[in-house]
Symmetry: C7
Subunit: 96 residues, 7 copies
């Protein structure tokens, strides 16, 4: 599978290795401009984070591999942006 411009992932991870390591490793992948990892829930042994990755022609397989090598699991892919331009979702009358 080829490349994407932005991915938003819902990820469950153990506390260790730390989210700092996860952010750093993801940001070092090829074709990646930057990574934002936000914590939204902490439990005794795990934490849920929302990962936003931006780049150009990014490989989902590489991203998934880094996440899983650190013992974490992708719960869902909440947003995918693909193509030549970074397209934002639009708020329509259906969302009001």
């Amino acid at each position: 599978m080829a490349g994407f411009k932005r991915l938003v992932l819902d990820v469950l991870k153990p506390h260790e290795p730390s989210t700092l390591i996860l952010a750093k490793k993801l940001s070092e992948l090829e074709n990646i401009d930057g990574v934002n990892i936000s914590l939204y829930e902490i439990d005794q042994n795990t934490e849920n984070v929302k990962i936003t990755i931006v780049g150009d022609d990014m490989s989902f397989e590489d991203i998934k591999m880094v996440i899983e090598e650190l013992g974490a699991v992708i719960h869902s892919i909440d947003e995918i942006v693909a193509g030549k331009k970074l397209i934002e979702t639009v708020k329509t009358e259906q969302d009001r």
Copy 2:
């Protein structure tokens, strides 16, 4: 039918083929600048996604064909932008 500048579609799809494949295939269509696919509901066998497609003189028939070839169905067309400029919907006193 000829072309559009932005379409927002409410689509029901099986889990496989994945949304990554759907995003990639849509972004490779002619006259398309980019695609945003956002997940808003997951069930056991299906998922509902909101697809925002931006381009110039896009063909709705081509888009529909890609979606249906991957086993998905367009529930509704939530927004259509056509013409020379990308027009946003306006919040009027009726929406407050």
Copy 3:
């Protein structure tokens, strides 16, 4: 009657001809920059859409004719912008 810069219309239409056709036909009228049609309610035989049309010196009569030729009805004109500049409505203390 002469021209307007932006019109927001509340329109009731049958499912067919499709909103895609309505958007395309409106966008092809003279003096029109673009059209945004947002779906906000679907019933068994009809759908309610909010149409935002932007242009310069647009003819309301032409717009109305296209809408009615496709079997649709203008319920209300929710916003009108006329003049040399596109003026936005202002939120005053009365709206808070």
Copy 4:
């Protein structure tokens, strides 16, 4: 009375003459850049509209005359901007 930069008026009008005519007539007044008329309530015989008029050194008397000649009444002047610059109202701690 001399001129203003922006006026927001709460106006009650009969359905006819239409708001389209009111918008057009106001936009044709001297020193007026543009007019936005938003519908916020419809009754059997009347409708309430919010009129935002922007210009430079506008005459309130002229505006009032156009509104009243079309059988409408100014309920209240919700906002007045006067001076060299268009000043927006500020949200203070008192508004939170």
Copy 5:
């Protein structure tokens, strides 16, 4: 007392002289760029308005004199901006 860059005043005034006159007189004071007067409450004999005045090195005494000469009273000074730059208030964690 010397000058200010922006003042937001909560003012109680009789219906007459009108707010149009008040806006005009304030906008004609020295060192004033513009005035925004928003109506937020009407009673039988009085109305409450929020006055935003922007300028450079404005005199509060002059502003107060104009307001009181027209029979109005300053209830409170809701915001004062002074100095070389127009500073906006910041939303902190304490405001959430």
Copy 6:
């Protein structure tokens, strides 16, 4: 103690000397670009104001001295920005 770029202070003050004097005196301190004072509560003898001060390498001691010389008290320092750039607080998933 050396300098800061922005400080947001929660201050309790007597009605006199007025907030106008406080704003003016703070704006005249060295290294200060401007001051915004917003009133958020009035009692019989005192008032609570939120003071936002922006500058470069500002001295907290000078600011505190001005405030206390006018009979006011700093209740809390709600926000501090220090460094080369003015950094805004970020809304994270924890704030939603």
Copy 7:
């Protein structure tokens, strides 16, 4: 561990040394552009602050050391941005 572009930390600290000192010391670290410290809860002996630190290739170890030397504790790392560009988190359909 190497560098980050933005970190948002939830920190518990004693009242003394003051947050002013903490802000100043953090802003003086290498590779740091600026620091924003917002107070969100005060207790008798401690206070909770939200620290936003922006820079380039920042060292988390240095930041942690400054915080702990002043007797404070990092409760959680609420957001991490790493890579070449400062990536903001995206609001998806899952957040609505």
